[in-house]
């Protein structure tokens, strides 16, 4: 009897130690003004897969990443990829329209407020979040070096796969 009780305890402890199928982390919902004016929520922008990138226009690594990221948007949009870039520096907001035109970017831009960096724990840019159709975070990538777009593309392809 005592042996059976001990065995039950061991099994219970073992079961508790196993990783549980915990719910994946979701990106905190947002409701932010778009560059064009109307507010957009996270639900509004969710696609089959969604890339949310936090940035500011004078961030050198954002400017290095965005031509490649725009290309990913152009390539996979038809397959269900949604994308938004969220500006985290309100005092650089006025630079965005010209910056966007100059580089030919068409990815929708949302305007973060002063609290956005804290709310999303953004300390550096660019910070990329790839989400699934329910807003769950599939991957996060901080910064950018040439070649990172290849990994990002593979993750997008995986997220869009039927």
């Amino acid at each position: 009897m005592r042996v059976a009780a001990r065995l039950a305890c061991v099994i219970l402890l073992f079961a508790l130690a196993l990783p549980s199928p915990a719910a994946a982390e979701k990106l905190r919902p947002f409701k932010l003004k778009s560059l064009e004016g109307p507010e957009r929520t996270l639900s509004d922008v969710l696609g089959k897969a969604t890339l949310v990138v936090f940035f500011f226009p004078t961030c050198a690594y954002c400017n290095a990443a965005f031509p490649k990221v725009q290309k990913l948007y152009d390539t996979y949009r038809e397959q269900g990829l949604s994308m938004v870039w969220i500006n985290v520096l309100p005092d650089e907001q006025k630079l965005i329209p010209e910056w966007r035109t100059k580089h030919g970017y068409t990815v929708p831009v949302l305007l973060g407020g002063r609290s956005t960096p804290n709310e999303y724990k953004v300390r550096m840019t660019p910070t990329h979040y790839l989400l699934d159709g329910r807003g769950e975070i599939l991957s996060k990538q901080d910064g950018f070096n040439p070649g990172d777009e290849i990994r990002l593309e593979q993750e997008i392809q995986k997220a869009l796969a039927p």
């Binding site: 500011f56 004078t58 961030c59 050198a60 690594y61 954002c62 400017n63 290095a64 985290v88 520096l89 960096p117 953004v122 300390r123 550096m124 840019t125 660019p126 901080d142 910064g143 950018f144 070096n145 040439p146």
Partner: protein
């Protein structure tokens, strides 16, 4: 020896104001750099001047921008004070950083450097016993992979007025 060691340690790890010799030092250690900002002499004399010296030590792989680029250059801004007239900040010669992803040459500081500023002291109201000098050190740092959000660090000194 021990005192100077402690002063250096304070300068590297804390925010605060300490007195070392004739200077009044503000020290701060951030994720991107450490700095000490000192004002000398340690008292305000109407009609005299103050010298602000900021010694900045960028951390490993970090760079901050120098004036002359489209990026946010490191700067000290003193808040308006009727008794003080700050001159332009003196910057040391920056180095040129080749930002390979954009094939761009930018003016940066990667090694320890010193910023200086002269501040002329004008008339100080007769009843004023102490003068508060305040401002901010602002910069935006990047390393070899990411850019960090701009920082704006408050600076403040309170100096006695000696007539």
């Amino acid at each position: 020896m021990l005192r100077s060691l402690l002063a250096s340690l304070l300068a590297c790890t804390t925010i605060g104001v300490t007195r070392a010799g004739a200077d009044v030092i503000v020290a701060r250690n951030t994720r991107h750099l450490s700095f000490t900002a000192s004002l000398s002499p340690d008292a305000v004399k109407p009609g005299g001047h103050l010298t602000l010296v900021v010694d900045v030590v960028p951390k490993k792989k970090m760079h901050v921008y120098a004036p002359g680029t489209t990026y946010r250059a490191i700067a000290v801004t003193l808040n308006a004070n009727r008794s003080l007239k700050p001159s332009k900040m003196n910057y040391p010669k920056p180095s040129i950083y080749l930002f390979a992803p954009l094939k761009e040459r930018v003016l940066v500081y990667t090694d320890p450097f010193k910023l200086t500023m002269n501040v002329a002291v004008g008339a100080v109201p007769a009843q004023t016993k102490q003068l508060r000098v305040s401002g901010t050190l602002s910069y935006q740092a990047c390393d070899d992979r990411v850019c960090y959000l701009p920082e704006s660090i408050p600076l403040e000194w309170t100096l006695p007025v000696r007539r």
